[in-house]
C-alpha cells in the first residue's frame, strides 16, 4: 500500500465536517458513558441511525468517537459519586472515589483522563501494527477455518457472558436461528415465514439489535417505579478543575503499569466477548500484585486508577483489530460497526484492509484523533454530566424509546422495521429477565450469515467433512472452542476435582497439534514450546503427588488456624 490512501484518510478524517461529527460523537459518548444504566454499546447502537446518511469514514469516525468517549465517560461518574457509569470503569472506583474523598478530585480525574488517553494511544499503535499482520494470517483461512472461527467466537461469548454456560449457548443458538428467518442468502428461498408474507424479507440485523439491546435495556432501567422517578444520581458532586500536569507526571512514573495494563486491555479486546468490563478488573488485579505498595490499593492509590483506565480504553483497539483483520465482531460495539460497514456496502473480511485501504486508514486515524478530542472535551462534559444526572431516568427512557423507532425507520424507510424493533424489544426484555445473556444472541444474529455462507462454500468446494479437523486453522479454532466451553467448569472445580490438574496441560498439548501442522518455523516452534510447557506442568503435578492446589482463601484460613 502506498501513501495515497493514508493521505486520503487524513484528508477525510480532518475535514471540518468530520471533525465536527467526531467532537459530537466523543461528547455524546462521554455523557452516555457517565450515566449509570447506559452502556457504551447502547450509545453506539443509538448513534447508528445518524450515520447511514454519512460516508463510511464519517459514520465510522463518529462511532469511534462515541466508543472512545463512552470508555472514558464512565470514570467521571465513578470518581465523583462512587457509582461507575459503565461496567468498564468498575475498578476505577476502587481508588478513584477514595482519592476524591481525600480532597483531590482534580488529580483523580486527571489521572483517569490521561491514563485513558495513553492506554488508548498505545492500543492504537498496536492496532495499526497488528491488524494488517493478522489480516495476512486471515488470508490463509478457507471457508472451513472461517466456520470454525465463528463457532469459537460464539462459544467463548457464551462461556464469558453469563454465569450459566447452557443459557449462554442457548442464547447464541437463538441468535443463529433468528438469522435464518427470511430469505436464505445462499439459495434465495424463504424460510420460517409461517405463511406470513412480511417475514419473507427476514429481520434486519439493526432493528433486531436495537430492539434486543437498547429497547429492552431502557425498559429494564425504568422497571423499578420509584428508582425511575428519582434523579439518576443524588449526589452533591460539583465540577472541578482537572489537574493535567500533575496527573501526567504521575502517569509517567507509572509507565510499566501503564504499558502492562494497556496490553492486558488490547489482548482482552482481541478475544471475542471479553471487553472493557473484564480488562479493567484484570489490569487492576495485576497492578496490585505487581505493586511495591499493594496495601495502598483501595485507599486512593494512583496506580489503582492508571491500571483500569489504561486497560479499558486499550480494549477498544483490541476489539477493532479482530473486526478489521478478520471481519468478525468481538462484541456488541464492533457488531454495530460491522453493521455500519455493511450499510455502506463494505464487507469486512481479511481483505478489508487491502481492498478498502483509505477506509481502514481512516479508522486508524479516527481512533487516534478520538483520544485527543476526549481529553479536550472531558472538562466541558463534566458540567453537562452534572446537569444530566440530575434528571430522572424516565425522562431519558421515554424520549429514547421514540428515538429508537425513528432511528430504525430511517434505516430503510419501513414501518415493518419498527415492528421488528418492538417484537425484539419484548424478546430481549423477557430473555434478560430469565437470565439469558443478550450478547451471544446479537453475535449469533451477526455471525449466522457468515457461518452459513462459509459452510455452504466448504461443502461446495469439497464434500469431505473431515477437512474441518484436518485443516490446521479449523482444528485450532475448534480446539480453542472446546476448551473455552469447558473453561467455566474448570474454573468452578479448581482445587476440588483432580481432572482440573490436566486441563491446562491437555489444552496446551491439543493446541500444539494444529500449530505443528501449520508448517514453517515460528508456528511449529510455538507448538513445541506448548508441548514443553504441558510436560513441565505434568511433571510439577507428579512431583507434588497430584495434590490439588489450595485456593487463596483456603490457604489464608489454614495459615490463620
Amino acid at each position: 500500500m502506498g501513501f495515497e490512501p493514508l493521505i486520503g484518510a487524513f484528508g477525510e478524517v480532518f475535514s471540518p465536517y468530520n471533525l465536527g461529527l467526531m467532537f459530537l460523537g466523543v461528547t455524546a459518548g462521554l455523557i452516555a458513558g457517565s450515566i449509570p444504566g447506559f452502556t457504551i454499546a447502547m450509545a453506539v447502537v443509538l448513534t447508528l441511525p445518524f450515520t447511514f446518511g454519512l460516508s463510511a469514514v464519517e459514520g465510522l469516525s463518529t462511532m469511534i468517537g462515541v466508543f472512545v468517549g463512552g470508555l472514558s465517560g464512565g470514570l467521571m461518574a465513578g470518581m465523583l459519586t462512587g457509582i461507575p457509569g459503565t461496567p468498564s470503569s468498575v475498578a476505577t472506583v476502587f481508588d478513584g472515589f477514595p482519592l476524591v474523598r481525600r480532597g483531590k478530585p482534580g488529580l483523580a480525574l486527571g489521572l483517569g483522563v490521561w491514563s485513558s488517553f495513553f492506554g488508548g494511544i498505545i492500543s492504537a499503535v498496536v492496532l495499526v501494527m497488528l491488524a494488517p499482520q493478522l489480516a495476512r494470517i486471515g488470508l490463509e483461512f478457507g471457508p472451513w477455518d472461517f466456520f470454525a472461527l465463528v463457532v469459537f467466537a460464539l462459544t467463548i461469548t457464551a462461556s464469558l457472558s453469563g454465569e450459566n454456560l447452557t443459557k449462554g449457548i442457548i442464547a447464541g443458538l437463538l441468535g443463529l436461528l433468528i438469522a435464518t428467518i427470511g430469505e436464505d442468502e445462499v439459495n434465495g428461498v424463504a424460510r420460517f415465514d409461517f405463511g406470513f408474507e412480511p417475514i419473507e424479507q427476514g429481520f434486519g440485523f439493526l432493528p433486531v439489535l436495537v430492539g434486543l439491546f437498547a429497547f429492552s435495556q431502557l425498559l429494564s432501567d425504568v422497571q423499578d417505579r420509584e428508582q425511575a422517578r428519582r434523579p439518576l444520581m443524588e449526589s452533591s458532586a460539583r465540577a472541578v478543575r482537572v489537574e493535567h500536569l500533575a496527573a501526567i507526571k504521575i502517569v509517567a512514573k507509572n509507565v510499566v503499569n501503564l504499558f502492562r495494563s494497556a496490553f492486558i486491555g488490547v489482548f482482552t479486546g482481541i478475544l471475542p466477548a471479553a471487553g472493557g468490563s473484564i480488562s479493567n478488573i484484570l489490569a487492576y488485579d495485576q497492578a496490585k500484585k505487581a505493586s511495591k505498595n499493594p496495601e495502598a490499593f483501595g485507599k486512593g492509590s494512583p496506580e489503582g486508577i492508571v491500571a483500569p483506565e489504561a486497560s479499558n480504553n486499550a480494549t477498544a483497539g483490541g476489539a477493532l483489530i479482530t473486526m478489521m483483520a478478520l471481519g468478525i465482531p468481538g462484541d456488541v460495539v464492533t457488531a454495530v460497526m460491522l453493521g455500519a460497514l455493511l450499510i455502506h456496502n463494505v464487507q469486512p473480511s481479511p481483505t478489508f484492509i487491502s481492498d478498502n485501504a483509505q477506509l481502514a486508514y481512516g479508522i486508524f486515524v479516527a481512533f487516534f484523533l478520538a483520544h485527543f478530542i476526549m481529553v479536550f472535551m472531558q472538562a466541558f462534559c463534566l458540567r453537562a454530566f452534572l446537569m444530566i444526572v440530575r434528571m430522572p431516568m424516565y425522562f431519558l427512557a421515554s424520549v429514547i424509546l421514540l428515538y429508537t423507532a425513528i432511528g430504525v425507520f430511517a434505516l430503510s424507510n419501513l414501518t415493518y422495521d419498527i415492528w421488528v424493533l418492538f417484537i425484539f424489544g419484548i424478546v430481549g426484555y423477557v430473555l434478560k429477565s430469565l437470565g439469558f445473556p443478550l450478547a451471544p444472541i446479537i453475535l449469533g444474529v451477526v455471525l449466522g450469515h457468515i457461518a452459513e455462507l462459509n459452510l455452504s462454500r466448504a461443502v461446495g468446494t469439497n464434500d469431505d467433512l473431515t477437512l474441518f479437523i484436518t485443516r490446521p486453522w479449523s482444528l485450532f479454532f475448534l480446539i480453542v472452542a472446546l476448551f473455552s466451553a469447558a473453561f467455566p467448569w474448570y474454573q468452578r472445580n479448581i482445587g476440588k476435582m483432580r481432572w482440573t490438574l490436566f486441563y491446562i496441560p491437555v489444552a496446551s498439548l491439543a493446541l500444539s497439534v494444529p500449530l505443528i501442522m501449520m508448517g514453517g518455523v515460528v508456528r511449529p516452534g510455538i507448538g513445541l514450546l506448548l508441548i514443553a510447557y504441558a510436560l513441565y506442568k505434568l511433571y510439577r503435578h507428579h512431583k507434588a503427588g497430584w495434590a490439588l492446589p489450595q485456593k487463596a482463601g483456603d490457604k489464608s484460613a489454614a495459615e490463620t488456624a
Binding site: 446518511g53 436461528l177 445462499v186 425511575a228 421514540l402 425513528i406 419498527i418 418492538f422 461446495g460
Partner: protein
C-alpha cells in the same frame, strides 16, 4: 419434583424447536445450490434441542434440590413467574413488578398501530407525553413539563431527521396533503 421457572422455560424452548422443525419441512428444496436451505437451520435446531434438554435436566436437578431445601420458594417462583420470594405473589404481584415495562409496551403498540393515521411527529409527541405521564409521578404540576419535553424533543428529532438527514418520516393521513 416441582415445576420451577427454568423447567417451564426449557419446555417452551423444546416446543419452539418442535415448531421450527415442523416449519423447516415447508422450506422449498432447490435443485441448485451447494447446500440445501434446510441443512443449516436443522443443524442449529439440533444443537438447540440438545442444549434445551441439558437446560431441562439442570432445571429439574435444581428443582429437586429446591424440593429438598426450599420447596415453598420454588413454588412461589413458579406461581409468580419471577424471582422467588420477592414482593407480593400471584398475578397482581407480577403485574405490579412489570407495570412500567407493560405500560411502555402498550403505549408503543398503540403508537405503532396509530402511526399510519397520526404520523411520526404527532404520534411521537403523544407517545412521549403519555410515557412520561405514565412513568412519572401522578401530579398535575408535571403535565406542562411533560408536554414541553415531548414537543421539544420529538420536534427536534423530527426536524433533524426530516431536514438534516432527509428521511421521509411517516406523515400520517391526518397530515398528508397528497
Amino acid at each position: 419434583m416441582s415445576l420451577n421457572r427454568d423447567v417451564v422455560v426449557a419446555l417452551l424452548l423444546l416446543l419452539l424447536c418442535g415448531v421450527f422443525f415442523w416449519e423447516s419441512g415447508n422450506i422449498q428444496l432447490t435443485d441448485y445450490g451447494q447446500l440445501d436451505s434446510t441443512v443449516w437451520p436443522r443443524i442449529i435446531l439440533g444443537a438447540l434441542l440438545i442444549a434445551s434438554l441439558v437446560y431441562l435436566w439442570q432445571a429439574l436437578r435444581g428443582a429437586a434440590s429446591e424440593d429438598a431445601g426450599a420447596a415453598p420458594q420454588a413454588a412461589a417462583g413458579a406461581a409468580g413467574g419471577g424471582s422467588a420470594g420477592t414482593g407480593p405473589g400471584g398475578l397482581a404481584g407480577w403485574i405490579s413488578r412489570y407495570r412500567n415495562a407493560l405500560l411502555c409496551y402498550a403505549l408503543f403498540l398503540t403508537f405503532l398501530l396509530t402511526l399510519p393515521i397520526l404520523g411520526m411527529l404527532l404520534g411521537g409527541i403523544l407517545f412521549v407525553f403519555a410515557a412520561l405521564t405514565a412513568l412519572g409521578r401522578p401530579s398535575l404540576k408535571l403535565v406542562p413539563l411533560h408536554a414541553a419535553i415531548a414537543v421539544g424533543t420529538v420536534g427536534a428529532m423530527w426536524a433533524v431527521f426530516t431536514f438534516g438527514l432527509r428521511v421521509f418520516l411517516p406523515e400520517g393521513v391526518l397530515f398528508s396533503f397528497q
